[in-house]
Amino acid sequence: MQSGFDRRRINGPEESFPPIFYDSDSDDDAPPSKKPLRNGRSSKDIRPIFLQPGLINQSNGSAYIETEKTKIACAVYGPRQSKNTAYSEHGRLNVEVKFAPFSCGRRKQPLRDAEDRSVAVAIHQALVSSVRLELLPKSTVDVFINIIEADGIEGCIASGSVAASTALADAGIDLFGLVVSCSAAVVGDEIWLDPTEEEVQSSNGTMVVSTLPALNTMTSIWQNGMLSPSQVLEGMGICDEKCKDIHSIVAQAIRDHAVQQV
């Protein structure tokens, strides 16, 4: 036994983790056979979206999005002068994603934790083609995304890019169109839209499709896992269709907010 050992006190283990409590309303304890598949959602249903632009007063534009257990706040600052960088003819879009320490099952370290940048890169890829950066020489547009509660990385990327695009529109930055993203998981032979973390874990593969429904084009496709090319194409088609529905929700939210401002 080591010499510096404190014998007078009860010594706990070196590392400890808080117990995970199961909500009584979620049926996690129920045997899998009795649990309704996808909590009663059909394969093409997405979770209800709550979207509120203009939440953070001091920013140029902001948005808050909530889809059941995914909660994301986003603020846009700019366009403002690029500092400490060389002259650039095009503007720069800077996306930063932060997970709250309590956003996942395991605590995230408050400082630069993994995953943050990979989500940021995916959201940047979804947004960058929609922003008219050629109109903003020497400037930077900062997009700060705070993930308050996460339910699967795919949901974070999809909801995060919807919130960021809404915030960009709210900030009055010139866009080609609103970016709308939809995620999907392939489970067995079925394609489930907007999967939760649990559903992602039981899937063969996942994808996130980001589109500009106004122009009928795609800005990003992010796919992982073992899927046949035909499954990918089918999933892309379904996501593309769903994005058109989500687009009307986003447009409505922005319109309602604009009416309130007047």
Binding site: Q125, S129, N216, I221, W222, Q223, N224, M226, P229, M236
Partner: protein, 326 residues
């Protein structure tokens, strides 16, 4: 990555869109530069490969990637995962990107790490023989890739090098052993302990460990090494796409579609897809890209497999020659 003037960019783009298309090195749109591969370059690793694209003999240049795997024993209690796990990392030599600041270089290698790691450590590709003692110990496979120089198309080079190093990886053969406490120990100090008690929740005092076979053994390859993916990057200049961009061509092409395919007897699978860069895609382009990409990836896969089998033979023959000379 490198900066080009507008005139240079437009010159390269016009060449590619021309009829017939022209590229500065005279290649066809869907031609690769020469790919050179050697396995077993790092003797202390469990598997390794060096891959170059477009290196001129005695002239140097080209993209060069070094990949090596290292196996580590991991305890379940110390954060291990039953069945083992794979962790990939990409390091970029500052010599490969002399114009980048250290911060930008870090971001670049992080992005490459994410693409490789998300694709290769996905559960659908997990080899079944990384377990040592079920529920106790397993192998942690570290795959480290180093980009020594970048002359374009670094993603394809990384995936090819990773595939070669994983193909080359040999997992040591192990035998699990178990210790059981002798029954005499259980009645300590003359006190009778009733074994039949149903309330006895103490764990059986057994311990499991493993040992290596004590004859010389090179180990066995990773299970399912055929399915490790190969990637193909389609450089898109609408309406054309071309393969294996050089550094200048890369700078002149705004949009890229990265596709990672794996081929197995049960069929072709897409293991990863990313859109990189600024620009818009329509569904038709993506569909065409996936169809064509599969064709190109299959050619790369066939060529790579032939070379890897060749390398296996070369190294085994060399080993047996050396053995015979002794």
């Amino acid at each position: 990555m490198i900066s080009l003037s507008k005139a240079e960019k437009s010159y390269i783009q016009a060449g590619i869109l021309g009829d017939p298309p022209h590229r500065s090195d005279g290649r066809d749109l869907h031609d690769f530069r020469t790919v050179a591969l050697e396995t077993g370059v790092a003797p202390l690793s469990n598997g390794s490969a060096r891959l170059t694209i477009g290196r001129v003999l005695r002239g140097g240049g080209g993209t060069e990637v070094l990949a090596a795997t290292k196996l580590e024993v991991e305890d379940m209690k110390a954060g291990g995962v039953d069945g083992g796990r794979i962790v990939c990392s990409v390091t970029c030599s500052p010599a490969a990107y002399p114009h980048l600041s250290s911060g930008a270089l870090e971001d670049l290698q992080y992005d490459m790490t994410m693409i490789i790691n998300q694709t290769l450590s996905h559960p659908s590709l997990h080899p079944s023989n990384l377990s040592i003692v079920k529920g106790q110990k397993s192998w942690l496979l570290n795959l480290d890739l180093v980009v020594l120089s970048d002359a374009g198309n670094v993603h394809d080079a990384l995936f090819m090098a990773a595939r070669a190093a994983l193909w080359d990886t040999k997992v040591p053969r192990t035998r699990s052993i178990e210790y059981k406490a002798a029954a005499a120990n259980r009645s300590a100090g003359g006190m009778e302990i009733d074994d039949a008690s149903g309330l006895d929740t103490r764990q059986q005092p057994s311990m499991a460990d493993f040992e290596l076979h004590d004859f010389w053994d090179e180990g066995e390859p990773l299970e399912g090494r055929e399915v490790w993916p190969v990637s193909v990057t389609l450089n898109l200049i609408s309406p054309m796409h071309y393969l294996d961009a050089s550094a200048q061509e890369e700078a002149a092409t705004p949009l890229r579609l990265l596709l990672a395919f794996s081929f197995s007897p049960s069929g072709t699978a897409l293991q990863g897809m990313r859109v990189l860069g600024v620009g818009e895609l329509d569904a038709k382009t993506v569909k065409q890209g996936i169809e064509d990409g599969e064709k190109y990836a299959r050619e790369i896969y066939t060529a790579l497999n032939a070379k890897l089998k060749d390398e296996d033979v070369r190294r085994n023959q060399k080993a047996s020659h050396r053995f015979a000379r002794r």
